[in-house]
């Protein structure tokens, strides 16, 4: 399967206010491509959660969205602290986010479980002190 279209974003980790800009942009791009709105919503919510996570935990990172004929793939990479216990992190309600994040409306421990539930496939590749790469796929058919 040849790569159809790639969108690359750098997520700024300094400013919580700007978190989510890439997800808003990808939503617009996918609309322009005529992707089914239900699919767009799943992709953009999963990416938004990932983007917010990157800003909270990893001082930003990069996002690549690859739109194939039959699927949309999102690759989120950061050079943050890594996830110590992936199994625990996947539990709904478990969060290591600092308290100030909760006052901003996030940090309920729903990010990773939500990303998994909105996508058809999710892989977490993480190493302590090196970083985390999350690959998510939403099938188009």
């Amino acid at each position: 399967m040849s790569k159809a279209i790639n969108f690359h974003y750098v997520v700024d980790g300094d400013d919580f206010t700007s978190a989510g800009e890439a997800s808003v942009d990808i939503k617009r791009k996918l609309r322009q491509l005529g992707v089914d709105p239900a699919i767009i919503r799943r992709v953009s919510i999963a990416m938004y959660e990932g983007e917010v996570n990157m800003v909270i935990h990893a001082e930003g990172g990069t996002v690549d969205v690859n739109v194939y004929e039959d699927k949309i793939e999102m690759i989120l990479s950061d050079e943050g602290p890594g996830i110590a216990n992936v199994e625990l992190a996947m539990k709904a309600g478990f969060s290591t986010a600092p308290d100030y994040v909760r006052s901003l409306g996030f940090g309920a421990g729903m990010g990773l479980p939500n990303m998994k539930s909105y996508t058809d496939d999710m892989k977490i590749d993480t190493k302590i002190g090196v970083g985390t790469t999350i690959t998510m796929v939403v099938n188009l058919k």
């Binding site: 206010t17 997800s23 808003v24 917010v52 409306g105 309920a108 729903m110 939500n114």
Partner: protein, 119 residues
């Protein structure tokens, strides 16, 4: 119900996208926790919240919502209003508290529709 009806029921001010007031909406949700909105909400067109930051606008956009009501007299910043304008999301502000605002809308027929996890 139209967004215009929400404005009247909540005695709310319109801060942007006034031209969208005749849009029909069928359901709403109320939360200060955007994580929960992203996790549990499904097909709600209106978000009532007391949280005030840009993530509220982006969360609404991710969920395909068309109207945000800020309760407890919260006034969004110019940046937030600009972002909402770009995304065609109507911003309302009301002096009512969350419980009262939700109650008024619910009793006038604006339901919560289907929410993930509801039986």
């Amino acid at each position: 119900m139209k967004i215009r009806d929400i404005k009247e029921l909540l005695n709310a001010d319109v801060l942007c996208c006034e031209e969208e007031l005749d849009k029909e909406v069928n359901s709403a949700c109320g939360s200060d926790m955007m994580s929960d909105v992203l996790a549990y909400v499904k097909d709600q067109a209106v978000l009532l919240t007391g949280l005030l930051n840009s993530q509220v606008i982006r969360t609404a956009e991710m969920m395909d919502m068309v109207c945000i009501v800020f309760v407890r007299s919260k006034k969004p910043t110019e940046d937030m209003i600009e972002l909402a304008k770009k995304l065609d999301i109507v911003i309302l502000t009301t002096d009512l508290r969350m419980y009262n605002a939700c109650g008024r809308l619910f009793s006038e027929g604006l339901g919560s529709s289907k929410v993930n996890g509801d039986v």
